[in-house]
Amino acid sequence: MTWTWFHRLGSPPYVYALAARLTPWFAWPAALLIAGGLWGGLVLAPPDYQQGDGFRIVYVHAPSAWMSLMVYMTMAIAAAIALIWRIKVGHAVAAACAPIGASFTFAALVTGALWGEPMWGTYWEWDPRLTSMLILLFLYLGYMGLRAGLEDTQRADRASALLAVAGSVNVPIIHYSVTWWNSLHQAPSVMRFGKPTMALSMLVPLLMMLAGFTLYFVALLLVRLRGEVLSRERAASWIPEVLKT
């Protein structure tokens, strides 16, 4: 087993070219899966017997919520790799992740609130999952705020990477303490979605949306990564050559 592929990932021009080459391989499947999932979820799937057509927002809400956590983990892993092995591209990946993750978290919160109105009769319920999402949004905002506050890119990279790693240690603790907190203040659970015994015609579109959102995130990350690499290496000699073609 040779590790050359791994070492080459440390080289900005190589990563820039690789990201450009890989982007369509993620973007097109993502577009197809999301289009198929939306068609299946919004048109083909039958209305829910309790929630009617209102449940269909799950096809945006659940994948967004899933992505918000996954992007955070991606960010923390990239940051840890960059911090431990001093790989600059890792910092670029982590920095590129944060705004995407914050957007997914925001989308999950907004769709959750919109869903809550018909289901709970209120836009905001202090439900443990929604509360965890809100805290996650603040973790993203803190990460981006720290990056914005530090002018020197290297210091911003390393400080924000440490914050991401510290946050990832804390995320499970926060999640469980919020769940614990909620179980004490047992709000009248108007609508508790039990373990989903979802009909297959509802589940398949959801899984397609999950896969589509994941691939969409990767495609978006690759595009943002190229931007990050360009702005970081703006003084390097390989950039004019790459941009000419």
């Binding site: 705020g145 720290l146 506050g149 530090l150 440490l162 914050l163 510290a166 804390n170 926060i174």
Partner: protein, 255 residues
């Protein structure tokens, strides 16, 4: 022949044992030196703090002030205040400890002490631990001693006070530790107050949840061991990991 072999192995074994002994002796000496340095740093911080007493008093005054805002804003009825007292106490304590974080590293970063710490060759982790311990002694413990007064003014019964003191004492350990990471990361950023709160408050939420729960149980006269043990677990986790992270953050900030 066999005796020679055995004596050779014996001598190798004794030499290995001697080397191991020497190695463990150096490790022990290094640890002793690190602990001595940490003790000196702790004493220095305490001494400096007692020379600038206003820094000690300000977070406490802030704590009392925030607690006073609630009767004025909500209602002077003790029955209503009693219902929100645990939350009020803990939010006020969280904000006061956040306010006090500013004093943790600022002066030392300004006059170069932190750089000297980093260059001293002593374990920066232990020094950070000492600084955080000093900070806890100077803000967490006074807050815990203030908390009964605030709790009484919000309608808590005297029987609840020991539980409240215990929960604030244990919880403020974690608050100081989490805060030390945030303060180290934001070193040198001008007007970092809002950013510091954005970094540390989300991470402090478990302390708030368990602390407020312990206070609530104490006020109802119920056993509060469960949330108190969870607070202690958080404190142990914080003591184990936070000084490492704070030391790394200080090194990053000094680069």
């Amino acid at each position: 022949m066999s005796s020679r072999v055995s004596s050779a192995t014996g001598s190798v074994a004794t030499r290995a044992a001697a080397e191991q002994g020497a190695a463990s002796a150096t490790v022990a000496a290094e640890t002793a030196a690190a602990l001595r340095a940490a003790r000196l740093a702790l004493l220095r911080d305490l001494q400096l703090a007692f020379r600038k007493r206003s820094q000690l008093v300000q977070p406490l005054a802030f704590f009392a002030l925030v607690t006073m805002l609630f009767p004025l804003a909500v209602s002077p009825e003790l029955s209503r205040l009693r219902a929100i007292a645990p939350g009020v106490l803990w939010v006020a304590a969280l904000l006061a400890s956040l306010l006090a974080l500013e004093f943790l590293f600022r002066d030392d970063a300004h006059d170069g002490t932190l750089e000297q710490y980093a260059l001293s060759g002593q374990s920066l982790t232990w020094l950070m631990f000492a600084k955080t311990a000093a900070h806890w002694l100077l803000t967490g413990v006074p807050l815990a001693l203030m908390a009964p007064l605030a709790a009484l003014s919000l309608g808590a019964s005297p029987a609840a006070l020991p539980g409240i003191v215990a929960s604030v004492t244990v919880g403020s350990v974690t608050l100081s530790l989490i805060g030390s990471i945030g303060a180290a990361l934001t070193l040198g950023i001008k007007r970092s107050g809002a950013l510091l709160s954005l970094l540390t408050l989300p991470l402090s939420l478990p302390v708030l949840i368990f602390g407020a729960r312990a206070t609530e149980l104490a006020m109802h006269g119920a056993p509060l061991a469960a949330p108190l043990e969870l607070l202690a677990a958080l404190a142990v986790l914080g003591v184990t990991l936070a000084p490492l992270a704070a030391a790394a953050a200080v090194r990053i900030s000094l680069e």
